[in-house]
Symmetry: C3
Subunit: 157 residues, 3 copies
């Protein structure tokens, strides 16, 4: 459905997205999305039943920037490290909207002086488009299996 070059570009997008978040370069995170976008982190149970409740949600790059501002300035939290492992990327379909992709992910969390733990696992259902010469997410829906989120989720997935 897509060329080998496009496939390599997709791999690269996902790799850089993970690296950005895991190195806590949150200022760069909104640039992985188009101006008008749809970002959502949602429990699998809600997603499967079509329920709208999300753990995190944003409808524009501006809202993503607000989230970053909160993380850096207003949300009181104990910092932790995140580490994304992503696998099983494939193209569901290509439509006028963009390239519809799916992948599995596992995010590990490490808090100061604590053992690394499995924080959040699930799949991501995305729509990728070219925007200003690079691939960006028009839509990113992270559907997580994890039923109990150890404490609150502060950073994006």
């Amino acid at each position: 459905m897509i060329s080998l070059e496009q496939r390599a570009a997709l791999d690269d997008l996902y790799a850089r997205y993970s690296a950005c978040l895991d190195q806590a370069r949150f200022d760069e995170w909104p640039d992985f999305f188009t101006e008008k976008c749809w970002y959502r982190v949602v429990p699998r149970e809600n997603f499967d039943r079509g329920l709208p409740l999300s753990t995190m949600a944003a409808e524009s790059r501006g809202m993503l920037k607000d989230r970053v501002y909160s993380i850096q300035n207003t949300l009181y939290h104990q910092p932790y490290y995140q580490r994304h492992i992503v696998s099983g990327l494939f193209v569901r379909e290509v439509t006028g909207e963009g390239i519809h992709t799916q992948a599995n992910y596992a995010v590990f969390r490490t808090k100061q002086n604590e053992i690394t733990e499995v924080f959040n696992v699930g799949r991501t259902l995305d729509i990728v488009v070219e925007d200003g010469g690079r691939l960006k997410f028009r839509e990113k829906v992270c559907v997580f299996d994890s039923e109990l989120i150890p404490n609150s989720m502060i950073y994006p997935i």
Copy 2:
């Protein structure tokens, strides 16, 4: 040993296989195998010693379908979510039998109202062939490191 197009097709096969199992679309699982096949989930200790004992085994697509029937109808169990992360796919060799591949995997399990846990990690030793226009597993041997399997293994790996 294989072309870039074949390599991409292999990546796709593994991605869709994981997605099928993790979304619990078990009815579609046997179609990832050839009619006559060899599916086996075996502890590393047994595998390394050449012992035949397997945790799960099937020699045909029919036996795989039986397994699915059991899961859906007769095996009494508490449902859980699975999430596959696969990496390090490479081609061991290409023979008349097909493309011999190897990859590492980690499967996470999430039970209702419980924390996500590392369920089963190991490597998969497969033989992939083209069958009816798509790639399928003629052989899939999942050799797992995990010594203690938390409760019993119900779903395929």
Copy 3:
């Protein structure tokens, strides 16, 4: 920055490196490096502050062989299985030194009669060169998030 063929060769290098370590074929491990090399496993906290302290370090293939000798002959330890999951490989830059890559990794550890645990997660910052017809690591720096390493780290990452 690199061709699709080179990208495939990189994927292959990482896959075989993981397979070598996870199957405990430690004798083959030094051959993944150039004669003069730089191998380092370092906590993220130290790395970010530019501190030189490493959990493991070697400056030549000879030193890597010494490490293997220690593992096999002098280091008293309870054996354990390792399983590498690597994702998000991308090229940072290509210089006269080689191809500068980065990837995320998670290593799982399984001890006899114990549950598999998340042992070490982080990213690897490498420089890859062609040496004697195959790709090798001139530099490999594993920067791990994990603050507490459950017991001591014996095998390479």
